[in-house]
């Protein structure tokens, strides 16, 4: 497949783990798969004696000897210099509605040129895209898409924004920053869909380059983060606070997993923390879980659970609370918190009526936070 064909394709994740011939009876000819890896020096690491390095990009602080890779699997120490192996090497690219990310208060009804490279710096047992996030870059088919071409491809596909998504964009930090800066020159916006497992210094750099960040908050429990995410909650909360302090548009998604992170008391704590640290205007999306990856022994989240948590969040004072992955649910739409009128109608990823005028409710003229143009 040529790159042009690849860019036209929008229907499937770019996963390829090679053909499968049984070794037992007949061995295949030696036809080597050439890995498509970049060799661009990484940012945010420290050189140490004896060809060792310490990665300072995310809270793991991987301390690596020569020839070793970080937890993400896409950054490698070679002779004391740290390289990103996925710069410009996309394994998934689609044109998606911005609502799919989901961003509900960011250019509604527009398309986002969405891309990913392999890799992730956590290992959620419920990962929805594990075939590309929990693999090394050699294990997926990747295509060359340099930053300048990202911007051009997005414009050619009539997208209003570039979305760094599907896997964990933090692990392709350098590529994301450079692509954002290149696409800004063409008048495009940039949005990031992340788990928020990033250190504050690189996050400051990222904030300067993009226009909105959606954080997947997996739970409000350190124990959950340790057992089911293989990460930490505290740095994610610190990242959320910094994103807000820098006035970057922020939305939060919370994947509700039955029995594991759906306790009402924990959701109340989360909502109180959000109101205290971020304020009542941050959109909070409760998203429905489907069994996946290493967590197949639980059922999909009952809609009644999502509705209960939605009600708790509204009770606690959050103004924009949504239910996701339940197409057609009333709570997919935006209602003015002041007059109660429907102001952005959504069904699945489709946007219907938009009753906003200059970022204000058309009915009561109340300001509705977001990036609307």
């Amino acid at each position: 497949m040529k790159r042009r064909d690849f860019l036209k394709a929008t229907g499937c994740l770019g996963l390829s783990l090679g053909c499968r011939e049984l070794l037992a009876s007949s061995l295949p000819p030696l036809d080597l798969i050439q890995p498509n890896l970049s060799r661009v020096e990484a940012r945010h690491y420290e050189k140490l004696p004896d060809r060792e390095i310490k990665c300072t990009l995310c809270p793991r602080y991987c301390h690596l000897g020569d020839k070793e890779r970080g937890y993400c699997g896409v950054r490698e120490n070679d002779g004391g210099t740290y390289y990103t192996l996925v710069y410009g090497k996309v394994c998934a690219v689609h044109v998606d509605p911005i609502e799919k990310k989901p961003f509900f208060h960011f250019l509604p009804g527009t398309q986002a040129f969405s891309l990913a490279t392999a890799g992730c710096n956590v290992n959620c047992r419920f990962c929805q895209n594990w075939q590309i996030s929990q693999v090394r870059p050699e294990q997926v088919e990747a295509y060359d898409l340099p930053p300048d071409e990202v911007a051009l491809a997005a414009r050619r596909n009539k997208c209003a924004s570039i979305a760094y998504t599907y896997t964990e964009p933090v692990v392709f930090f350098e590529y994301m920053i450079d692509s954002s800066l290149a696409s800004r020159k063409l008048g495009l916006k940039n949005v990031v869909v992340t788990g928020g497992h990033i250190n504050l210094e690189p996050l400051e750099e990222l904030i300067k380059a993009v226009d909105a960040i959606k954080v997947d908050l997996k739970s409000f429990s350190e124990v959950f983060y340790k057992e089911y995410v293989r990460g930490e909650l505290k740095p994610v909360l610190e990242a959320i606070k910094l994103i807000h302090q820098r006035k970057m548009w922020l939305e939060i998604v919370y994947l509700v997993i039955p029995t594991l992170n759906d306790q009402e008391s924990m959701i109340r704590q989360l909502c109180r923390w959000l109101i205290k640290e971020i304020g009542p205007d941050v959109p909070l999306h409760f998203s429905r879980f489907h069994p996946m990856y290493l967590l197949k022994n639980l059922p999909p989240t009952p809609v009644s659970t999502l509705e209960k948590l939605h009600s708790i969040a509204r009770d606690e004072g959050l103004r924009y609370v949504y239910i996701g992955n339940v197409p057609g649910h009333r709570a997919e739409s935006t209602y003015c918190p002041f007059c109660g009128q429907l102001i952005i109608e959504r069904v699945g990823y489709q946007v219907g009526r938009v009753e906003l005028k200059n970022g204000r409710c058309r009915f009561c003229n109340a300001p509705i936070p977001g990036i609307w143009s």
Binding site: L17, C19, P28, L30, G73, R125
Partner: protein, 298 residues
């Protein structure tokens, strides 16, 4: 009372003094080691105690560190010749690791001929990883189809090295090269991941023999070659009990560290905790007092 697991150390002075180890001497070391391990006089009988003639034997080597600190081709090939003496046809043997690139960098000629010894990596077309995830305790991985589809009996022919997180890397951790996501198993000093991976049926049902390549031991730093902390130990370590064999390897690393005035791994906060976990899971013995160690020179 259960018999103590046996671990055999065979050393040969000068075997690693040249640029390449001498094949004939390596073969003699392997024959001696297997014969002592299996209490047999002839290599044929020793091999027959571990493998059946119908086995397809996988020799999982370690080539992450390039030509200077990977399993030397001379050693892996000497092992195949001994297995052949024991009745295993060459066509039923494969020397393998993760990638062809690493194999080539370590000096291995890639071979896929149907009727000969095979040498190639999991990233060869037609090999690859299983498509179905194997989920077991804390392990969630895709296994190499070389292990799952070809190999019926596995040898871990691992380089004995210090490891900055696990404490040591030896025969058990070598199986990290049999899965698609080893980078996800380095938290908490690789514990319990090393032990649980070796408990996974795709590994446990096939693993028969550990041979630690201690010709040149990287007793500090690593996994790449650091000559200041590499010792010509000129030994091979043989064991049927993977935990006992790694335990003996650990003690050799500690001895070499002590000789150079380095702190112990425990003092550095990274004793190989996976060994105790492995013992608790029934994979073998980690108490040196309960291991029968036989040392021999050739």
């Amino acid at each position: 009372m259960a018999e103590k697991p046996k671990v055999v150390i065979v050393r040969a002075r000068g075997v690693a003094s040249g640029s390449k180890p001498a094949a004939a001497r390596l073969q003699a070391m392997i024959i001696k080691g297997l014969c002592l391990l299996c209490s047999q006089n002839e290599p044929k009988e020793a091999v027959a105690r571990i493998f059946s003639p119908s086995d397809r034997v996988g020799i999982k080597i370690n080539t992450i560190a390039g030509s200077r600190l990977s399993t030397p081709p001379e050693l892996a090939l000497a092992l195949t010749s001994v297995l052949n003496l024991g009745g295993i046809p060459e066509r039923n043997m494969i020397i393998w690791d993760r990638t062809n690139r690493e194999l080539k960098e370590a000096g291995y000629p890639l071979q896929t001929s149907r009727d000969k010894l095979k040498i190639f990596g999991t990233d060869s077309a037609g090999a690859g990883y299983e498509q179905e995830l194997y989920s077991f305790r804390n392990i969630g991985s895709l296994f190499s189809t070389i292990l799952t589809n070809f190999v019926t009996a596995s040898i871990s022919l691992a380089v004995l090295k210090n490891h900055g997180l696990a404490g040591i890397t030896a025969g058990m951790k070598n199986y990290f090269g049999a899965i698609h996501n080893p980078n996800k198993y380095h938290d908490n000093h690789c514990d319990p991941f090393v032990a649980e991976l070796c408990l996974c049926p795709p590994v446990k049902s096939r693993h028969r023999l550990t041979i630690l390549d201690a010709l040149l031991v990287q007793f500090h730093k690593g996994p790449s070659f650091h000559p200041s902390w590499a010792a010509r130990y000129e030994g091979l370590i043989f064991g049927l009990d993977p935990v006992a064999t790694d335990t003996v390897g650990w003690k050799i690393i500690e001895k070499l560290r002590a000789e150079k005035g380095l702190p112990s791994l425990k003092e550095e906060g990274r004793p190989p905790a996976y060994l105790e976990t492995a013992r608790s899971l029934g994979l073998g013995e980690n108490d040196p007092e309960r291991i029968q160690i036989i040392e021999e020179e050739v």
